[in-house]
Amino acid sequence: MSRKGADIVIETLIEEGVEYIFGLPGGAIMEVYDALYRVGGIKHILARHEQGAGHMAEGYAKATGKVGVAMVTSGPGATNLVTPIADAYMDSVPTVFITGQVPLHLIGNDAFQEVDIIGITRPITKHSFLVKRVEDLPYVIRQAFHIARTGRPGPVVIDLPKDITQQLSDVSIPSKEEAISSLIGYKPHLTGNPQQIKKAVKLITEAKKPVLYVGGGAVNAEAQDELLELAELMRIPVTTTTQGKGAFPEDHPLSLRMLGMHGTYYANMAVYNCDLLIAVGARFDDRVTGKVEEFAPNAKIIHIDIDPASISKNIIVDVPIVGDVKIVLNKILEEIKKKGAKILHEREREEWLEQINKWKKMYPLTYKNSDKVIKPQYVIEQIYEVTRGEAILSAGVGQHQMWTAMFYKFSFPRQFINSGGLGTMGFGLPAGIGAKVGRPDIPVFVVDGDGSFMMTMQEVVTAVHYKIPVKVAIINNGYLGMVRQWQELFYEKRYSEVDLSIQPDFVKLAEACGAVGFRAEKPSEVREILEEAMRIEDRPVIMDFHVDREENVFPMVPAGKSYKDMILEDGKSPDVETMYLVG
């Protein structure tokens, strides 16, 4: 049947199982919007800014594991997507970004609203396509989804010249297999080398002081069950990154919570002193390792990752295993069971766990609460209580993101949605909206900073428009708080351009947008507002928590320093004698 290219786009998206598109129309993409109107079958969320649409697609993908789709027009529409694309690239989020483009014959002519978005996004996409023949459309779209969701997931851009979406074609939608058959150079390695798996099992059984270091790859691979089984069977404590949170329940006795720059004392001490580090879908980011020379200096390292380029990139590892984390962990478990492999040094292993418990008791995550001023950590703890730890939390970037990571215990995968690699302020609200669209069954809290919130706050209107009941808790300190903290610690309190105390009245702003607004200025008001917010199901709620302005995020390992340079609460250093173990 002959139909327009635009119709073929929508038909193929439906075939790929797309339920939602986040987007904003414009001249070059109008044909596809027209087809969406005529053909139907996909719900569309009209964002108020293309960046918002992009982060919504990411939030949707991070919360559901499905491919998130954003669609925008050419030129400025496309350039406004660049930040979400880069963000999705850094955090391996399966996403397809569809951009309109000027007609083929005008490409390169500096036409109205023309940019070379393929060129601009080349270093920040897993792959990209400029469609040059209408018959290619269904193949390209299927390939894009295949590439986005398999291997190490990532963003794929499809650039659609307007005339391609207008031309008629009777091309039929190919099967997935047929569509991807021409991708001869793309075959992610999934199974893991059997010899390497044997080596890994040997190290795991022989280790006296092992630690599992788990990143976003474990969430992407849905390896939570295998991880739990391995940790419990072999008695291995587990630390997770911001992206790995929820892959292992943080209320489990073997959990060390987060490691790295704002990791727990005990996670960092465990990694510092371990004799075997098992990295699972993690990439040894500088925010995790600090000074590379002093990262797990006595440990052998096993690294399981689907991306061969992530292995031995920042740190040379002893046993690299390229493969899907879930499949490889299953093979490790099989090998352990088949061999009846036992922990060789049972006594040392128990001493190790005892030692970790001592560290946990000595420097737990803590803060000094107050009955006069709201402490940001207190707000997070209260959110944890009113949601019984069962909500999805989306965060912006900065101090509030780290407090959320520290004071909310995450217990299931895809529960903490935040921008780890790129560190994109303004991510929280739109990503939270996308998450709620994908998971309407679970309450979604957005924990945002006042600075982060103001970068994408237009999306409150989107949430009102579609009655998306996200609950936005602004941790309002009137500062670009994390920058201020660094200025306090490393620039002798020269607070250069971080004061945000001139800001809108967020309660009135919420009301002007059609949302509900609350404000709390005293600790006693926090709980009540949160409970009230939990009851509102037909629109977003904006909660403006005026918190202690100069509260800092601790523990902290200063950038480029070693774990032993960690700063605890009130700027104190840990007792050095507690940090080392006999190797």
């Binding site: 393929i118 060129g119 080349r122 270093p123 897993k126 792959h127 990209s128 400029l130 040059k132 590439i147 021409s182 991708l183 001869i184 150079g185 793309y186 590379v292 020379e293 002093e294 990262f295 797990a296 200096p297 006595n298 991306d307 061969p308 380029a309 990139k313 740190i315 040379i316 001592k358 007792d575 050095v576 004698e577 507690t578 940090m579 080392y580 173990l581 006999v582 190797g583």
Partner: protein, 187 residues
């Protein structure tokens, strides 16, 4: 805190640093729109200059082969190779630097030859290098020579005193030797 024992000296994790040298990398690609730009972007993104690059079709339809020469740290080049492999359009990527391989480059050199003596001498040098004179004018000879890096360098040095007016090189192409011979027989 008597329950802990302090260790005086701690081991440091070894940070491997690679030698900086010239690498020659073969990349087989699907001949798709933008593939050259992707590869160039990736290499430029690591801060490296491409020393030479040659691209051409292979015997298989739609498949092209590139030979890329870059100077860089061994470890970073290893990253580049892994990243090149990740590109959707690359089929095979091989760093030939430490593998026995054949290298060739073709060069055209337009030499200033206003006198009979200069013409005789340039012709003689060209013959020694098993090259050809492919274009002649009253003032110039254009010489074509094929060979590996050393041979090309040698003839360029020999022709320089006459005055080189123009020079064009194809960039290296390279192929792995099947039997892995150590020696590198000339032509």
């Amino acid at each position: 805190m008597s329950e802990f024992t302090v260790i005086e000296t701690r081991k440091l994790r070894e940070v491997r640093k690679g030698a900086t040298r010239k690498h020659i990398i073969n990349v087989t690609v699907r001949n798709e729109f933008g593939v050259l730009a992707r590869i160039a972007t990736l290499i430029a993104g690591k801060g490296y200059n491409i020393e030479s690059l040659s691209v051409g079709e292979t015997h298989e339809k739609g498949i092209s082969r590139m030979t890329i020469e870059i100077i860089g740290d061994d470890i970073v080049i290893d990253q580049v190779v892994k990243q090149l492999r990740k590109l959707i359009d690359t089929i095979k990527v091989r760093d030939l630097t430490d593998i026995p391989h054949v290298e060739r480059e073709l060069v055209l050199i337009k030499v200033h030859t206003p006198t009979a003596r200069a013409r005789d001498e340039v012709l003689r040098i060209t013959e020694i290098f098993r090259g050809k004179v492919v274009d002649v004018s009253q003032e110039t000879y254009t010489v074509e020579v094929t060979g590996d890096e050393d041979k090309i360098r040698a003839i360029v040095e020999l022709l320089k005193p006459f005055g080189i007016k123009e020079m064009a090189r194809t960039g290296k192409i390279a192929m792995k030797r099947e039997l892995g011979w150590e020696e590198n027989p000339q032509d």
